[in-house]
């Protein structure tokens, strides 16, 4: 039984690994094709060509600022919003959660034109903070939804004791609830961060200066004006671009001791 399921699992795992393997092999191949193959001529040239300040380092730095800022802002606002939704019986809870739920399936791309005019009126075009605000707004619905579910699983009894001692609700939130739901917060953080990291269209539209553009915009460079794609460089850039999120994921999941933290997000 154990052997059978191990083998089945391994086969599925190979199916998941092969497309990834292509990225790795093509990035060190002097003449990459579209199929997985051992490079005939091994080279690091592709990495050499993409590892320049304007192609890689500046955009990655911007990605960190945008995704990090967006994730932090989203998490803070989502915790604050989740608290009353989870703890009090209010008339607005239900409509608010429904509204938020519909927000999760918004086709953001289709709305970018009014968003642009809004940003012009608010004088936020080409502003990193402005872009962070917008990206946070788009990820908030899902974050609030997940955060409320996490918070529901933290027992109220602990807070009640603190209330009796005269602590305000904000104080109990900060001192008692937040520390108890650290794993949940980490999950929401990484979830938001990963989505922001891959977001191309929003920063492309809202930022003008090339030195503020994130890596998601830079990678589209490799798809060429006249259509000529350099596969090796694209693969190398893909790896460089993906490493930070992979590293962050490993870091956070190590800190949480595995994936069990996700449980609370959906238990409801």
């Amino acid at each position: 039984m154990k052997a059978l399921s191990s083998i089945t699992l391994a086969i599925i795992g190979i199916c998941f690994a092969v497309p990834l393997l292509w990225l790795v092999l093509a990035s060190v191949d002097a003449q990459p094709s579209l199929s997985v193959k051992i490079p005939e001529v091994f080279t690091l040239d592709n990495f050499g060509q993409v590892l320049t300040p304007s192609l890689t380092f500046v955009p990655l730095m911007n990605s960190v600022i945008l995704s990090g800022g967006c994730a932090v802002l989203t998490v803070v606002l989502a915790i604050l919003a989740a608290y009353p939704l989870s703890r009090y019986r209010m008339r607005i809870t239900k409509p608010f959660l429904y509204g938020v739920l519909f927000g999760t399936c918004l086709p953001i791309t289709a709305m970018m034109v009014p968003v642009y005019s809004l940003f012009v009126q608010l004088n936020l075009i080409d502003s990193l903070p402005g872009t962070i605000f917008f990206m946070a707004a788009t990820s908030l619905p899902m974050a609030i939804w997940m955060m409320k579910n996490f918070m529901d699983s933290v027992p109220v009894s602990l807070e009640e004791a603190a209330w009796v001692d005269g602590a305000s609700s904000m104080k109990t939130l900060a001192r008692i609830v937040v520390p108890l739901m650290r794993p949940g917060i980490a999950v929401v953080f990484i979830f938001v961060f990963i989505q922001a990291w891959g977001n191309f269209f929003v920063p492309f539209v809202l930022l003008l200066s090339p030195d503020k553009q994130p890596a998601a915009v830079s990678i589209f460079n490799f798809f060429g004006a006249n259509g000529a794609v350099a596969y090796g460089q694209l693969a190398a850039y893909s790896i460089v671009y993906s490493l930070p999120v992979l590293a962050l994921y490993v870091l956070i999941s190590r800190g949480l001791g595995g994936s069990s933290a996700l449980a609370g997000a959906v238990k409801g």
Partner: protein
């Protein structure tokens, strides 16, 4: 008083999301355009965009393809495979479990454009899938051309399963062992145990997870755009691709936002369905 902590999030949502949504919705009743004379001053045209949309033969195709994509890759692909992986992991060796888990999660963590490009390379006629089939003397088809929907569904399953797998692993870990054992004592076999004991226990997780993955899958654009461009013909043009083509390729913003409004409706229908399934959750 109690609602004060809700305020910052509400303000941010109202300013940056609600405003543009209302504006988009209004735009779907105008001939607003990116270029051309309509860009110099758009005018209200009532339901013209919607009637043009319903008369467009590509539109029903796009709705059907979108449903196919969501049901195929989110409901069946990610959820069933995710649950399957979670179950297999419980009964597999530790090493296999952690190695496979790493690969599955890596596909999820990858930025969408990178995942899309890796999938494109995998399924192209000279790509890895066909190189593999060639080992057995099978000349593989041009996947992206002959089975465009199947291929984007497989790719989106590959990319998104990790989330469901993590959720279900966690949910299964919470099912008390005693219940499992009790069922075993009663002589229930593996499948029966799963159907009668385990699944009902994690019903809530299944419904919520299905909803999250559905809503996320509904607006998938980059993956399909890079792999097939919506083609051949319109055979993989889902609603987001149709909206993009009309709004940005042809510059017809009003028409494009009309499609976006329809997408919201589709999302709402799915949501209502799942909320019904969740029933008590929002009470």
């Amino acid at each position: 008083m109690r609602t004060i902590p809700l305020l910052p999030a509400t303000v941010l949502l109202a300013v940056f999301l609600l405003g543009p949504i209302l504006s988009s919705f209004y735009g779907s009743f105008t001939d607003s355009s990116l270029s051309g004379s309509a860009a110099a001053g758009s005018k209200f045209i009532g339901f013209d965009n919607y009637s043009a949309l319903f008369a467009d033969p590509d539109f029903p195709t796009a709705v059907i393809l979108t449903l196919l994509f969501v049901i195929g890759s989110a409901v069946i692909g990610q959820n069933v495979l995710g649950l399957g992986l979670a179950l297999l992991m419980r009964s597999s060796g530790r090493l296999v479990r952690s190695v496979v888990g790493t690969f599955v999660v890596a596909a999820w963590v990858l930025p969408e454009i990178v995942a899309a490009f890796a999938s494109y390379a995998f399924y192209r006629d000279t790509g890895t899938a066909n190189s593999f089939l060639a080992l057995f003397g099978i000349a593989g088809p041009s996947w992206l051309y002959v089975f465009p929907m199947l291929v984007v569904i497989l790719a989106n399953t590959w990319r998104g399963t990790a989330f469901s797998m993590l959720v279900y692993s966690a949910a299964l870990a919470d099912v008390p062992d005693e219940i499992q054992e009790a069922a075993e004592m009663d002589g229930a076999n593996g499948w029966k145990r799963l159907r009668l004991v385990t699944l009902p226990m994690i019903r809530q997780s299944i419904a919520t997870n299905a909803m999250i993955t559905t809503l996320q899958t509904l607006s998938v654009f980059t993956l399909i755009f890079v792999m097939t461009g919506g083609g051949p013909g319109v055979q993989s043009t889902t609603l987001p691709l149709l909206a993009y083509q009309e709004a940005f390729k042809f510059g017809q913003l009003g028409f494009g936002t009309a499609i976006a409004t329809i997408m919201l409706l589709v999302g709402a229908i799915f949501s209502i369905f799942y909320i019904r399934a969740l029933r008590t959750d929002l009470e």
